[in-house]
């Protein structure tokens, strides 16, 4: 599904990504871990088109997508969420979700006045948004400004917005960061459920190892810009090298 080949990214001589190779399989929940400064968020930013790679390839379903901009990647079915939620604060929760719908007819200036046409699509989007709000327990907040939501609710909204666009693959940057443990477990439960019921693929940065252990199919460990260990969660967690990089031994 998503394949990264020998990816490099330098920032003014500093090699943040130093030859990353990985592959995320369809319909799996894949975790990415690594100590602070190992390059996880940079890897996401390069895959999601925020930065151009210095060298290397990113392939989505076999097609080269490195160097494409976020909006182009979105159209190819790749959506990402942010570690620190970036809601549209002065739009309601419902509008935040609706906005994320893809290929909206009424978003073109000349179509604004073709009311009947865009309203039909809007209706479909509305149904979908309601379903997602149900799923994420956000329904009661539908008409609330996103700026008034709590940290945990914003995390859910991030996930919800990403779901709105029927992506093929979702990149989640610490979806449960700063969220209380009970909610975190619920959130991962949802992710697991979505992967199984909706043919979705997840690639997740997370530092709650115990959560990832229970909910992911496969894991990659990034350290100093390279993947040093990969495999099933149990195997990865028992790997001495993983503990060592976290303790700063390598």
């Amino acid at each position: 599904m998503l394949k990264v080949v020998d990816l490099h990214k330098d920032f003014g001589g500093l090699k943040v990504l130093d030859g990353v190779d990985l592959e995320v399989e369809r319909n799996q929940v894949v975790g990415l871990i690594g100590p602070n400064g190992s390059g996880k968020t940079t890897l996401f930013n390069v895959i999601a088109g925020v930065y151009k790679p210095t060298s290397g390839e990113v392939l989505l379903d076999g097609e080269r997508v490195d160097g494409l901009k976020p909006d182009q990647l979105y159209r190819k079915g790749l959506v990402r969420t942010f570690q620190i939620p970036r809601p549209f604060r002065k739009l309601t929760v419902l509008d935040n979700l609706l906005l994320a719908g893809r290929e909206q007819i009424g978003e073109r200036f000349l179509n604004v006045f073709r009311l009947i046409k865009w309203k039909m699509q809007e209706k479909e989007l509305l149904e979908k948004a309601e379903e997602i709000m149900d799923l994420l327990n956000l329904s009661h907040l539908s008409d609330e400004y996103a700026g008034n939501l709590s940290g945990g609710q914003l995390k859910l909204l991030e996930l919800g917005r990403a779901l709105m666009s029927d992506p093929k693959i979702m990149l989640l940057d610490e979806p449960a960061g700063g969220v209380n443990p009970t909610l975190a477990i619920r959130l991962f439960g949802k992710i697991r459920e979505l992967a199984e019921t909706r043919n979705l693929t997840f690639f997740i940065i997370e530092h709650r190892m115990e959560t990832l252990m229970n909910y992911s199919d496969y894991m990659f460990v990034l350290y100093r810009g390279k993947i040093i260990v990969e495999g099933e969660p149990k195997k990865v967690m028992d790997d001495e090298r993983v503990i060592e990089v976290y303790l700063g031994e390598l």
Partner: protein
């Protein structure tokens, strides 16, 4: 000397640290370790007034300093070295030290000489802009700068973050040296093993909670240390 009792802290309304108790005794290097996101930096920031303490209290030399402003805390004799942006990049090394000693009215010169005797490597850069210093030198300067206010206790946030392995060793050795010179140090580190080598006592934080504490030897000897550290065992 410094005690944080049952501290819950965070930003805005979100609680990042959940009822943690740590103590730093005079002349010791005390280290808080834990993986990223464990809340260790937030705990440190709550002590120096850069994050909010929701409950619990922070006592320094018998005085309650909970939720005071950073400059008030610094005036009480606690030096603080933040993790990032911890030097004035547009100032020279000497000017950075002078700013560190901004509150000193007399004997700035002597204090600077004392501090420089601990950091002799800085003397040859005195009139250079900080922007030309290496990462390791900057870290040294940041620590030296905080010493200029003549603190008795130093609070250091991840002094080895983003440093090359060789420099990690150097900076940590310097911190040990400071403890030998009579300063008390409370620091947060991600380079757990190396930090423990120079520490007198340590705490492990995972997901905002203290999960283990003890002398470094006991901690390192614990067979499940790695798993505890990663929050896989409690």
């Amino acid at each position: 000397m410094l005690e944080a009792k049952n501290v819950s802290a965070g930003y805005g309304s979100s609680v990042v640290v959940d009822s943690a108790t740590v103590e730093a005794r005079e002349g010791d290097v005390v280290t808080i370790v834990g993986p990223n996101g464990s809340g260790k930096s937030t705990l440190l920031k709550s002590i120096v007034g850069q994050a909010r303490v929701f409950s619990g209290e922070i006592i320094y030399n018998g005085e309650d300093i909970t939720n005071l402003r950073t400059d008030q805390i610094v005036r009480k004799g606690i030096g603080y070295v933040p993790q990032v942006e911890n030097v004035f990049v547009n100032l020279t090394v000497k000017e950075n030290l002078e700013m560190g000693g901004y509150m000193i009215d007399e004997g700035l010169e002597e204090t600077m000489n004392e501090v420089l005797s601990l950091f002799p490597e800085l003397t040859r850069h005195m009139n250079r802009k900080v922007s030309v210093l290496s990462g390791g030198e900057r870290q040294m300067l940041a620590i030296a700068r905080s010493l200029m206010a003549r603190p008795r206790m130093l609070i250091v946030d991840e002094p080895t973050a983003n440093l090359a392995p060789k420099l990690v060793h150097k900076v940590l050795a310097k911190i040990r040296e400071l403890a030998e010179a009579g300063y008390s140090v409370l620091m947060v580190e991600q380079n757990a093993k190396k930090a423990l080598d120079i520490s007198d006592y340590c705490y492990i934080l995972a997901s905002g909670k203290l999960v283990f504490e003890g002398r470094p030897k006991e901690v390192l000897a614990h067979e499940e240390f790695g798993k505890i550290y990663l929050g896989l065992r409690t």
